[in-house]
Symmetry: C2
Subunit: 327 residues, 2 copies
């Protein structure tokens, strides 16, 4: 069953591919969204020059639920804050924000597209909140936005539930369904099989499929390229893996791999020099490390590994025993 | 053509798999083989407990060619030094050393197997020195050793030369032929295709195939697991990727992946706590970083990236331009 339906090879020119930069959104989970304005402006310019197709600025989180004093502005992504960076965004790159099911006031906070610099609303849902996700999708579609949906934590879901979720979502107005490896537990073999599953349903309804990978087992890039070969076209990446815990598929690896001549690694290298190197030197911690590997192997949420890392613990064996106890 | 001959799946029990620890040998290229005796003894014990099948102690380098004062003892792997660690090695784990074509006095320095603690001699060759490699293979076979051969830098070789090399080597007495990604430039798709090529010739002659990957593009582990699915059975790994430049497939990732119940990640976690954490803190540099990614993308030897890293440079963009000039 596996490996029978490759749609692309390494040399393929694939104009339908879209690179989605999630550095601010997934990276914001590392620093509570406290990026400097210069970081955000330079990232915007670097992404444009690199040929990135979408840049996600952060979450549309509800200010009733989250204290605006405890987070930087990209947790909330007010249109005026986005405009301060992008103006009218007269570029080929589109602007995205994420709406988390149950954590946003989409009816109030997401204005009609004609009044907003945002192009794409990315809806994040667990498999048991799909109806609520569809409500946001339909609201955003009516307001004029493109939409994508991330079904999170599917490595904990059973296959029949995933099948049912895919059918339901494909019957909505959503444009793209994301295969999400929330815990970084999937191997390339599984990603190929799941890509085929997602694409089979998506193709039937004229939808696209995306992938959002985590790097717990140093597989985020490999899983992304394997999904590409199967025909997945929306590819999430973050500069130098900046993202929760072990982080994501690194933009510089992905841009070095893609053969579409519109992509260019150079602006990202310069951004790394200017912003990522100092960010690491400031003590901010993210990226592959043994504790994330262990939660990945055990298909667990990375929160215990993040805590382990924050406490500067190095007793990996003891940590593994703790994880096994909580399985 | 690709992806048609999977021999294993993720759940397969594969008793023919052999994990080969190369930490001292490839890691020795980072610190000129100056490991403490405690490091080596603890690694030996950890590997035994982890179910590792072979432990490579280092090179059999010629003392006429290399100054013994400039390198630690594992550059030369005298039998007496190995015996000081393993005694008569009354364990299930076998002992390996590497003989580099043109850099060893195999006739003088490799004693008959009956007088040595070594079980396996791994011969490293470039594609243009295959006849010299075969001379070493036949000498070692006659002396009673198992042998494997690494054809290095094949990402720079043409396919017809690789085909010819595989035929020649398979007609020798060598036991295992290694697919080696010296520059960390191969993608999983290419590793699958090359694995099929190597296995097709090897199967015909009753030989095994191994893989030795480098982590320039964070693909060492993924490329190793993909080779496993195709039927490759000798798998090189190093603890925490310790190895030249960006290092190798990390043992802890590989042992977490393999389903054979003989393998156990725990002793490696303890070894990392005790030895790898202090080694990093001592300032020794290895592992994935942007300069290695760039030499990997460009299919170049990592020496310029190693130099860049030693000089603590962070001007990645300038470095990339330098690499492009030397292409």
């Amino acid at each position: 069953m596996e490996n029978t339906k490759n749609k692309r090879s390494l040399m393929s020119y694939a104009p339908d591919i879209k690179v989605v930069d999630c550095t601010l959104r997934d990276g914001g989970l590392v620093n509570d969204f406290f990026f400097t304005d210069e970081f955000v402006k330079d990232l915007y310019q670097a992404n444009i020059k690199a040929g990135v197709d979408y840049m996600e600025f952060g979450y549309k989180a509800s200010k009733d639920m989250f204290d605006v004093k405890k987070f930087g502005k990209w947790k909330f992504c007010d249109d005026k804050d986005i405009r301060a960076v992008v103006g009218d965004n007269k570029t080929d790159m589109k602007i995205a924000v994420m709406a988390d099911v149950g954590r946003c006031d989409f009816k109030r906070d997401i204005l009609p597209k004609k009044d907003s610099p945002v192009d794409l609303v990315r809806i994040a849902t667990y498999i048991n909140t799909i109806p609520a996700a569809i409500e946001i999708i339909e609201d955003c579609t009516k307001k004029g936005y493109e939409t994508t949906v991330n079904i999170m934590a599917i490595s904990k879901s059973n296959e029949l539930d995933i099948d049912a979720a895919l059918e339901l979502l494909c019957q909505s107005s959503v444009g793209t369904i994301y295969l999400v490896d929330s815990y970084g537990s999937l191997y390339p073999e599984q990603v190929r099989r799941l890509s085929e599953k997602y694409l089979e349903v998506a193709d039937k309804y004229g939808k696209k499929v995306g992938i959002h990978a985590h790097n717990n087992q140093q597989l985020a890039f490999a899983n992304t390229t394997e999904a590409v070969i199967k025909g997945v076209s929306y590819l999430d990446a973050t500069v130098s893996s900046l993202g929760r815990g072990c982080g994501n598929c690194p933009s510089e690896l992905l841009l070095g791999f893609l053969k579409n001549p519109k992509y260019n690694i150079n602006p990202i290298l310069r951004f790394i020099e200017k912003h990522i190197v100092p960010l690491r030197e400031s003590g901010l911690k993210w990226g592959y490390d043994v504790p994330y590997l262990l939660t990945g192997i055990l298909n667990q949420h990375p929160k215990s590994a993040i805590q382990f890392s924050k406490e500067d613990r190095k007793d990996y064996y003891e940590f593994y025993l703790e994880l096994l106890e909580s399985c």
